[in-house]
Amino acid sequence: MDFATFLVQCLNAVQYGLLLFLVASGLTLIFGIMGVINLAHGSFYMIGAYLAFVLAPYFGDWYLTKLLAGVVLAAVFGYLLEWAFFSFLYQREHLQQVLMTYALILVFEELRSMLVGNDVHGVQAPSWLAGGFKLGELMSYPWYRVFASVACIVLALALYGVVNRTRLGMMIRAGASNRDMVRGLGIDIQRLYRIVFAGGVALAALAGMIAAPLSSVYPGMGGSVLIICFVVVVIGGIGSITGALVASLLVGFVDTFGKVFFAEYSGIGVYLLMAVILVWRPEGLMRRSF
């Protein structure tokens, strides 16, 4: 592998890792703050991807507007879902949470099947992001992938900013450490949770929307991303956003280079990584950072 190819593969790895981070950060946020193990998180990613497909005809090349519309819809959906369902889950045991959110996956899959069918769909990247720039002799690197990476970086920074630099973030961090104390200070913890949950759903859906032109839209896509996101969360340390970022990038690199060098065994690469890290640090790479 020459140096140029190596660089392109690094780009591929970072781009995949960043996308994973968007989904995994929501997962770990919801677990870290509300203590809910949410298996249905992958479904939010799938819902995002299908939103990208369904909304496409209405927005054409107004791609960013489409993303915005999708995010708003997803956030509203998340807010309602928390109100109708998840708010009853906090006091339950983890086993019950797992069973109930698993049931939600089945419900979402069935609804998807009823509403948009079981076909595989492709979503077009906007025409102003068509094509790519020349890299090496044969290859061109699509502009859309550059856009996806940049968008993920911006979102990661924004997330960091909100959690660590704002009043809302302060309440979130406090709520994660001591729910009762925060309530005692007169903060509406119920509403706070609802906002965090809606934010987590929106992040996952946004990741799905960004990923749609890269990975097409297909039934069961939520399941595969969910498994890999749990790997990310476990490696990174449960509840840690920084850990999720580091772990996402690690998984991105292991997966990308595994596919190239160990094609036959590429499927197990990330799980091996998880096993090794768990032996070395049973709690994951980072402790909960808030």
């Binding site: 079981n118 280079f257 596919k259 190239v260």
Partner: protein
């Protein structure tokens, strides 16, 4: 609904008086269709069923003078449910013949159950080499192809075109790996060398890292096996990465079959091989396509052909014993000796029960996979491991 039941009963009595000899065997033949009705392969299952029923309908709704009664089970393309599903047909409905399915993993479970219960099984799609290889049995036949066949014939063509260094890319599952194996065998026999096999987990579609690797290795040709939505994505990504202009892409026919429209300009000019081509200009195919279009108001495809031929194979067996399923051995022997007049051209079955068939080279032009040449004449699967 009491009255019609009585009427039917009376009619049956009258019929049995009128035709005392035929009445003994004239109950309907129970055909168990185990096909995907939901999920990614639902459309394929639908076409197979339509093809099968079209042939029965063309014979006046009867095969060898006997009514056909259908029992259907959705196989869900889920190998873990396959044994339960197939037992519904074998034990509960006690079907005379099983027809299924698309997914190779499910078909293998069906083959196992068919062997244990000695039920006749006709496989109308799943290409797993093992079904007509190590798992073969006197009561198991296939009306489609073995994965090895389209891979091998593409390898022959690629070597003939003078390519020396090839790379392969597929999903890491049976159908993909077996197809690639067939390609490698023929390509290396023809003097070429496969320098690297690339794969990714099924049904993943993140091809970017693998495309980068292809660009780095600069092979003379790339062989790909993908199907359905994955095939659409792959062909588009290959084009978008700028590789289409630099490295020719060959594939098994499933790369562009049923997916051409969605692939658009990216697929134009791609060469694939398969045991069928839409534009195959032989009388049987023209008649079949017309009949199919008139009946179902849609165009037939390779899956419809395979379903149609599954019914033709069954008919050949039944005709030989005049519809008497009791004479099983004679019936099975007749199926294996039959020459099926298929829309793909005539074929016979190998000792393992797999079609010995012409493989066609096709080129994607507009909305069709156009016939270009015969890639390999009468290609027989080697049926490695079959003891029959």
């Amino acid at each position: 609904m009491k009255f019609p039941t009585h009427l039917a009963l009376v009619a049956a009595c009258v019929a049995s008086l009128a035709l005392p000899a035929a009445a003994q065997t004239a109950g309907p033949i129970k055909v168990g269709l185990m096909l995907p009705a939901t999920g990614t392969f639902a459309a394929l299952g639908d076409m197979i069923e339509k093809g099968f029923k079209l042939h029965v309908q063309e014979q006046g709704g009867k095969l060898a003078g006997r009514e056909i009664q259908y029992f259907r089970v959705d196989d869900e393309s889920d190998p873990s449910k396959a044994t339960d599903n197939v037992n519904k047909l074998i034990k509960r409905d006690q079907v005379d013949v099983l027809v299924g399915t698309v997914h190779s993993g499910v078909a293998l479970a069906m083959a196992k159950a068919a062997k244990e219960s000695n039920t006749l099984l006709i496989v109308p799609n799943a290409g797993a080499d093992a079904i007509t290889g190590p798992m073969c049995g006197p009561n198991i036949v296939r009306s489609s192809f073995s994965n090895w066949q389209p891979g091998y014939s593409t390898g022959v063509v690629a070597a003939q075109k003078g390519y020396k260094r090839a790379m392969t890319i597929t999903w890491n599952y049976a159908a993909g790996l077996e197809t690639v194996k067939g390609f490698t065998e023929a390509f290396e026999k023809g003097g070429g060398k496969v320098i690297k096999d690339l794969s990714l987990p099924f049904p993943g579609v993140e091809f970017q890292a693998l495309l980068t690797e292809i660009a780095a290795q600069k092979p003379d040709v790339v062989f790909a096996f993908f199907a359905g939505g994955g095939a659409v994505k792959f062909v588009k990504d290959y084009d978008a990465a700028g590789l289409k202009k630099a490295v020719p892409l060959f594939g098994s026919g499933f790369l562009t079959d049923g997916t051409l429209e969605a692939q658009g300009a990216s697929a134009q000019g791609l060469f694939t091989t398969l045991h069928y081509a839409d534009s195959l200009d032989i009388p049987k195919n023209n008649a079949f396509r017309k009949s199919f279009a008139l009946t179902y108001k849609q165009n037939a495809d390779v899956y419809a052909v395979q379903g149609y031929d599954a019914a033709q194979l069954l008919a050949a067996g039944l005709n030989a014993v005049k519809g008497d399923m009791g004479k099983r051995d004679a019936m099975l022997a007749a199926m294996r000796k039959a020459t099926v007049d298929s829309p793909r051209g005539k074929f016979t079955l190998s000792a393992g029960g797999n079609p010995v068939q012409d493989m066609y080279l096709r080129e994607a032009k507009g909305p069709n996979n156009e016939y270009r040449a015969v890639a390999v004449k009468a290609l027989a699967d080697p049926a490695r491991g079959c003891k029959l």
